[in-house]
Amino acid sequence: MSLSAVVEGAIVRLVRVNAGCGLRSRLTAMGLVPGAELQVVRNGGRGPFIVAVKGTRLMLGRGMAEHIVVR
């Protein structure tokens, strides 16, 4: 499923990112690699997201969260 559908507090594993090379490489460098464990810290239903990954908090735009496949 897409990350944007994950409820606050849930812990998921990243499967893949559907995006171009540039963005994907950037996300990779920030720790969003396949297999990484993510916790959704904030998902207000609209607007951006906060996820916890590898000890940091990342803010992601909603559009981007829709392109991140997790399980």
Binding site: R24, R26, T28, A29, M30, P48, I50, K54, T56, R57
Partner: protein, 832 residues
């Protein structure tokens, strides 16, 4: 020295270790504490510039240790070293092209795995590396333990522990840097390679072998690094190898084949698999040397965030903090600004004192109106800029700025801007100049440029005097507040449209997708805030002032030349005649007081009390006291903006009359004489002279280049309902929006003093319809920004053409919008 010269290039950045000089580069993730460490190392000995061609800040500093002069380059904070972002490219190019003697890689200890991703790429670059485990105290408090010796062995580089914000560990870092830098280059270093697994390693080795013939490429970049980058399909490296390799076709085919193999075997593209392997390498190293005893998911930062990023409370906190920033910048800054304005006034007076009072010297005018007026007009913003940047530095260093972006992102995203763009927009209501500077908080160049370009549409404080002049002149009291609000709303609406247009036509493609780290909250250090504030404030001073000086002098020259020598009226003679009339009127009063008939003692500004008869001195003092009381009353009414029918006005007036009454009591016999002196002799004369001088200024301005330009563009302005007088004032207002009012005052020959406002309003009402009044405001709101904004936009965008584009675009927009408003209004019959 042990370290011999081992660098070939002689670029300014590559300091050869000849003797005691070492160049180090600081690399690390954003929020790893890199800047704090840089400040600790270099203190105030910093130089901030830009990397050529890009707006990435380039910071360098010097520090001395054990007789070594260590040049420190602070690379932009990056998560990786790909060619995808400007910052990463800048950092990478610096490392490759300038090959610093030591790369110091700063790691946030509490977030080590993610931070080591950059380290793996630094290891591959093959430069001498020192790792810094920063904020190790926080990490230890969170229950993370490090086996530094083992980690250092696994990563092949010495590790130093530091606590940046407490200035701990700086010395051991310097020690390690010197030790690494002075190791002779031929000493075998522990060879650590990031392993990618057997298959990928084989592909890497194959490509490396193909490249080995190209001596120049390999010796410069390192064969393995090139091979890995080619496999990752790094466009910049591909380009370099294509133009440098002897057997490019063979290399290209081999790389393509290898990428196909990897994709087939692993089900993902080579760059993802390689990135994955890097994390695998890190994870392996960490498993052996980092132990996290307690898993603390809910740290203090998270608890703060529970409130700070909350939909409702978060917004409230944000609004409160923004109000604080605005208040600090403009309300607290105002008195300081007044002091600076006063100082420049004094300087102007002092310089004016070098010439006789009635001197017409062009040099005097150039120095006072052009140089001091122009540069002073810029420098007065300095307190606001310093306060604003101190506030922003505090919010940035504390980690709040990222939360502010989160809070505002939903709203700003709809407009097409980044969440952080809200801050410059808000500042823009005060003054566009610091607002343009505030766009520095935006990371993406596109976002910065878009925000910068539409900022002048946010109605700044300098437009307020224009509205304050025109709105009461044309609109009845109940329409005034809505009109003022309308100007602000129109500005914002146009800014939103502007962003849409820029995003559609100029900065095509998606806006930078929003991915941002929310760093843990930290207490900002005073040192950090001071250094950041000074950096930006001095950049403003240095660059903006040069352009602004040039423009100020140009504007001065245009408003002064050509100077009409044969004026239509003989103002000197008229002024002399006016003085004669006053003296005649004064003669009677002089006679009553027993003074010589031609004496000007009663109207003199300063009085030689010893040489004058006692009752004459008393009369002059009484006159001055009445004048002072009247002035206080006028100021009180103006300051509090009292309306004549308000009770507060009534109270002030009663107080004023009481004051006058007491003055009358002190000298009942002189009081009528003082009133006669003030209201019948001195007052009318002064008004007469002011009128004459205003008429002369108007005639001179009309004959100057600005006046001629105003007339020249009159046909162009006619469709907007403007005549040459408005045109002239608009041109003069290029030097600063608030100057429009002063320019109108000069053109209309009512003088440019504040009290001239009512006279000017009466004239305007006489000459123009409310529709024209509205159109003037509209044009002033939208048209080309002031010189200071132009200068600062040119500097901050890195290209003067963006500033030109902005000025031209806004002026064209202003023309079209005003044209539409005027024509439509006329059609609807609003023009009368």
């Amino acid at each position: 020295m042990a370290a011999a010269a081992h660098r070939r290039t002689a670029d300014e950045d590559t300091v050869v270790i000849s003797g005691n000089r070492i160049t180090i580069a600081l690399a690390g993730n954003p929020n790893s504490g890199k800047t704090t460490l840089f400040n600790n190392l270099t203190g105030a000995r910093q130089h901030v510039g830009n990397y050529p061609g890009v707006t990435v800040e380039r910071k360098a500093g010097v520090c001395r240790y054990l007789g070594y002069e260590i040049r420190v380059i602070d690379l932009p904070g990056t998560y990786s070293l790909t060619a995808y972002s400007v910052e990463e490219r800048v950092a990478r190019d610096f490392l490759i092209e300038h090959r610093p003697d030591v790369v110091v890689n700063i790691l946030d200890a509490s977030n080590i795995e993610r931070n080591l991703y950059l380290t793996t790429q630094l290891i591959e670059l093959g430069l001498p590396l020192v790792l810094v485990l920063n904020m190790s105290d926080t990490a230890k408090a969170r229950g993370i333990e490090f086996d530094l010796e083992r980690l250092s062995r696994l990563l092949g580089a010495p590790i130093v522990e530091t606590v940046g914000h407490k200035e701990r560990g700086t010395e051991s870092l310097l020690e390690a840097v010197v030790a690494v830098a002075t190791t002779p280059p031929d000493t075998p270093r522990p060879a650590v390679t990031v392993g990618y697994g057997r298959e990928i390693n084989r592909e890497v080795t194959d490509i490396e072998r193909l490249l080995s013939g190209d001596e120049a490429l390999v010796s410069h970049y390192g064969g393995r690094w090139l091979a890995v980058k080619l496999l990752e399909d790094d466009q910049e490296v591909v380009e370099r190898v294509r133009s440098g390799a002897a057997h490019w076709e063979a290399v290209r085919d081999a790389v393509a084949k290898a990428r196909r193999h990897i994709e087939r075997d692993y089900g993902d593209t080579a760059e993802i698999v390689i990135a994955d392997r890097r994390y695998g390498f890190i994870s392996g190293a960490c498993q052996e040397s980092v132990r996290s005893s307690v898993e603390l998911r809910h740290t203090r930062s998270d608890r703060v965030d529970a409130v700070a990023t909350h939909g409702l409370f978060g917004l409230a906190i944000f609004v409160a903090l923004m109000y604080g920033v605005f208040y600090l910048t403009f309300t607290v800054g105002q008195p300081l600004m007044d002091v600076l304005e006063w100082l420049f006034g004094c300087l102007g007076d002092a310089v004016a004192g070098l010439w006789p009072a009635d001197s017409d010297s062009p040099l005097k005018s150039l120095l006072i109106d052009g140089v001091i007026g122009g540069v002073g007009g810029v420098l007065v913003f300095l307190p606001n800029i310093i306060l604003l940047f101190a506030a922003i530095a505090f919010l940035e260093d504390s980690g709040y700025m990222a939360r502010a972006a989160f809070i505002m992102d939903r709203l700003m995203h709809k407009i097409g801007l980044h969440g952080k763009s809200f801050i410059p927009m808000l500042i823009g209501f005060g003054c566009t100049v610091p607002a343009v500077m505030a766009t520095r908080i935006l990371d993406s160049r596109r976002d910065r440029l878009v925000t910068m370009l539409v900022l002048p549409l946010v109605s700044c404080g300098a437009r307020l005097p224009i509205y304050a002049l025109l709105i009461p002149a044309f609109f009845s009291p109940h329409l005034r507040a809505p009109m003022l609000l309308a100007m602000y709303v129109i500005g914002i609406a146009l800014a939103v449209v502007g962003v849409k247009l820029l995003r559609t036509f100029v900065f095509k493609g998606d806006s930078a997708p929003l991915v941002m780290e929310l760093p843990p909250y930290r207490m900002p250090t005073l040192k950090g805030v001071v250094i950041h504030t000074w950096e930006r404030a001095s950049a403003y001073l240095r660059k903006a002032s040069t352009i602004i000086l040039a423009f100020s002098v140009l504007m001065w020259a245009l408003a002064t030349y050509p100077r009409k020598t044969h004026l239509d009226r003989d103002y000197e003679a008229e002024i002399a005649r006016a003085a004669g009339e006053r003296n005649a009127a004064l003669a009677d009063l002089n006679a009553e007081l027993g003074l010589p008939p031609e004496s000007a003692l009663l109207v003199a500004d300063d009085l030689d009390a010893s040489a004058a008869p006692h009752h004459a001195v008393r009369l002059v003092h009484l006159r001055q006291a009445i004048q002072a009381a009247r002035q206080r009353f006028d100021e009180a009414v103006a300051d509090e903006q009292l309306r004549a029918d308000s009770s507060r006005y009534h109270a002030v007036q009663t107080h004023h009359l009481g004051e006058l009454h007491r003055l009358q009591q002190t000298a009942p016999e002189l009081y009528p004489l003082a009133l006669r002196l003030l209201d019948k002799i001195q007052g009318p004369h002064e008004r007469h002279v002011a009128q004459l001088e205003a008429a002369r200024s108007a005639e001179l301005l009309a004959a100057s280049s600005v006046g001629r330009l105003g007339r020249l563009i009159e046909p162009l302005l006619k469709p907007l309902g403007f005549d040459w007088k408005i045109g002239t004032a608009l041109i003069g207002a290029v030097a600063g929006k608030e100057l429009f009012v002063a320019q109108m005052g000069i053109v209309y020959a009512v003088g440019d003093s504040e009290s001239a406002g009512d006279a000017l309003r009466a004239q305007l009402r006489n000459d123009y319809s409310p529709l024209v009044g509205f159109c003037i405001m509209l044009f002033c709101l939208v048209s080309m920004p002031c010189v200071a904004t132009f200068a600062v936009t040119a500097r901050e965008s890195g290209r003067i053409r963006w500033a030109v584009f902005q000025a031209a675009g806004l002026t064209a927009t202003a023309y079209v919008v005003t044209l539409a408003a005027y024509q439509l209004g006329t059609l609807l019959g609003l023009g009368t």
